[in-house]
């Protein structure tokens, strides 16, 4: 807002309000990260205090022993690598065809892409699960990777980005004897690099945080992704795990949540600008 009238006022009210919100927004994460270093019984006995002299890694050692979180990380990494790479390569490639070529069926296919963008994701869960069963893919990497491997939204977004690349640039490269794929790889990709960076962080975030499809399609202990592993821990708290006491389970849960939070937080802090671009562009997805 153009603030010409109150140039001299230090905006105490604004800062007070924003600071309160800031505390509210950071508190749960900060509390979990800190509490994970408290002795398990202190977490539940005095949840509001932190005594640095009692700093301990017990929750982490217990968690790594009891929770298959390493396997969860490994599975998430495999999915991230394969699904992420597929989206990052094939989506801009297809988007290039949509943006810069005339071909039969183009509008029909693009219309279908738009429709799927508007559909709630849950509508596909049941038939996809049945498809996985028919293929014998339940609890496999294929099931985690292939559906949605070339994200429709990524196509939509990259098409917009590539449309803005000047045709003259492509024609000039063709005159120089550039082949069609080289046109994509050596002309388009370098030009759209900022958009690709945004797509990259958004893709990483979405795949890393994805939960609904993995929990439905691959919830076995061997195939569970990080988020699926995590989701079982709260159920321990609500009383399903026999013989575990509340404090221990809580400590392990906070340690596991912290371990899952940190990679994305670090990535976010390092790549803020790309994150914000990605989130903004990503918001058009229904």
């Amino acid at each position: 807002m153009a603030a010409t009238t109150e140039r001299t006022r230090p905006r105490i009210g604004s800062h007070l309000f924003l600071t309160l919100l800031l505390v509210a927004f950071l508190f749960p994460v900060a509390w979990a990260l800190l509490s994970a270093f408290k002795p398990a019984d202190a977490i539940i006995r005095s949840p509001l205090t932190f005594d640095p002299t009692t700093f301990t890694l017990d929750n982490y050692t217990a968690m790594f022993q009891d929770v298959p979180i390493g396997q969860g990380f490994l599975n998430t990494a495999v999915v991230l690598l394969c699904k992420g790479a597929a989206t990052m390569f094939f989506a801009p490639l297809a988007a290039f065809a949509f943006a810069k070529y005339q071909w039969a069926g183009k509008n029909l296919v693009f219309g279908a892409v738009l429709i799927t963008l508007m559909l709630p994701t849950i509508v596909l869960i049941i038939p996809l699960l049945l498809e996985m069963k028919a293929l014998g893919w339940v609890n496999t990497y294929q099931a985690l990777i292939l559906p949605g491997a070339v994200d429709a939204f990524a196509i939509f977004w990259m098409r917009q980005v590539i449309t803005a690349v000047p045709d003259e640039l492509l024609d000039a490269a063709r005159v120089d004897g550039c082949g069609e794929f080289a046109l994509f790889w050596r002309v388009v990709v370098p030009v759209i690099r900022p958009g690709l960076a945004g797509l990259g962080v958004l893709t990483v975030m979405n795949i890393y945080n994805d939960f609904v499809w993995p929990v439905v399609a691959a919830s076995s202990e061997r195939m569970a992704t990080l988020q699926v592993v995590l989701s079982t821990l709260a159920q321990n708290i609500t009383g399903n795990r026999i013989g575990a006491d509340y404090a221990t389970v809580t400590g392990e849960l906070l340690a596991a949540s912290s371990v899952a939070l940190v990679p994305l937080l670090v990535l976010f802090i390092l790549l803020q600008r790309h994150f914000i671009n990605g989130i903004l562009a990503g918001s058009v997805k229904g």
């Binding site: 109150e6 749960p28 799927t116 596909l124 049941i126 699960l129 005159v175 945080n209 988020q227 949540s257």
Partner: protein, 304 residues
């Protein structure tokens, strides 16, 4: 990646047979990997659900054709309606609050002279990038009736212990708070981008007329933001009615089904292997969500 030399005089592409044919075939090759995945895992399942919704099928054996029975069963089933009701209540707890707070925060952050605005903006998006499941677990611990930090804090002021997640009166607001916490920063970002497209000279004119701050917010900013706001409302409506992971992790739909959202109710059909009903339920949900989105879009257009 080196920039390609661009010749000063541009000629028409050389008319060799090979390059031209390759140029015509290239788009098909480029689109093929996407089209294959899209056809197999989006288009086909969609048609399959449509058919499935008219059958009774428990996941094994032959499916029996039942016509509109699944739809009729759902539409006359109180549990289905109460799942929609739960989602509607959550919508009321979430969307108006989020839009009000979102506009206020976005307007404050849009002030270029505000100190620390970069810090605020980053802090507000942190919840949005954190994994929902991790945060949902933290919610379970924070809001625990006996050991949670929230009750401990309120206890300092002599307030009684509240069963945030164990009483049907409080479970919905507690889930709504999780959703608000997680996504308000995202809404702020969207609204900020909307604000940036408002011409600053409009405010200068208002300043000359001596309009108060509150007056400017209500009479200039909100109307000009209507399109962006409408977009944000549609997005959040879709998200609230599909809400699944939050009740799945935090409350498992309880207590007494008070947090069985439309999305969570749909999942119940899968766990019971009642796939025909589940398919019908997803289509009903699609129709509802699309109708709501269209309604909001219409409402916003009508006022223009």
């Amino acid at each position: 990646m080196t920039a390609l030399p661009v010749p000063a005089a541009r000629r028409a592409p050389r008319a060799g047979r090979g390059p031209r044919l390759r140029r015509r075939l290239a788009p098909y090759v480029f689109v093929l990997p996407f089209a294959a995945v899209f056809a197999a895992f989006s288009v086909y399942p969609l048609f399959f659900t449509a058919r499935l919704s008219f059958t009774d099928w428990r996941g094994t054996g032959a499916a029996t054709w039942v016509g509109w029975d699944n739809y009729a069963y759902l539409l006359t089933n109180p549990a289905f309606w109460s799942s929609l009701g739960n989602s509607a209540v959550l919508w009321l707890l979430i969307v108006p609050v989020q839009m009000a707070v979102g506009v206020l925060v976005a307007v404050l952050l849009n002030d270029a002279k505000l100190r620390l605005r970069g810090l605020y903006r980053v802090a507000f998006i942190v919840p949005f990038v954190t994994p929902l499941v991790a945060v949902a677990q933290i919610w379970v611990v924070l809001f625990d009736q006996r050991y949670g930090a929230v009750n401990a804090f309120l206890g300092l002021f002599g307030l009684p212990e509240t069963g945030w997640l164990t009483t049907s009166a409080w479970a919905k607001p507690t889930l709504a708070l999780l959703f608000l916490w997680k996504t308000t920063g995202f809404i702020v970002i969207i609204l900020l981008s909307g604000l940036q497209s408002i011409n600053a000279s409009i405010y200068e004119a208002a300043d000359l007329d001596g309009a108060s701050k509150a007056r400017r917010l209500w009479s200039i900013t909100v109307p000009l933001l209507r399109r962006t706001l409408g977009f944000a409302v549609v997005l959040q409506t879709l998200a609230v009615f599909q809400m699944f992971a939050e009740p799945f992790v935090v409350t498992q739909g309880g207590p007494y089904n008070s947090t069985t959202t439309a999305g969570y109710y749909l999942y119940n059909h899968i766990t019971r292997a009642d796939l025909g009903t589940g398919a019908a339920n997803s289509f009903l949900l699609v129709v509802l969500v699309m109708a709501l989105s269209l309604l909001f879009v219409r409402l916003l257009r009508a006022k223009d």
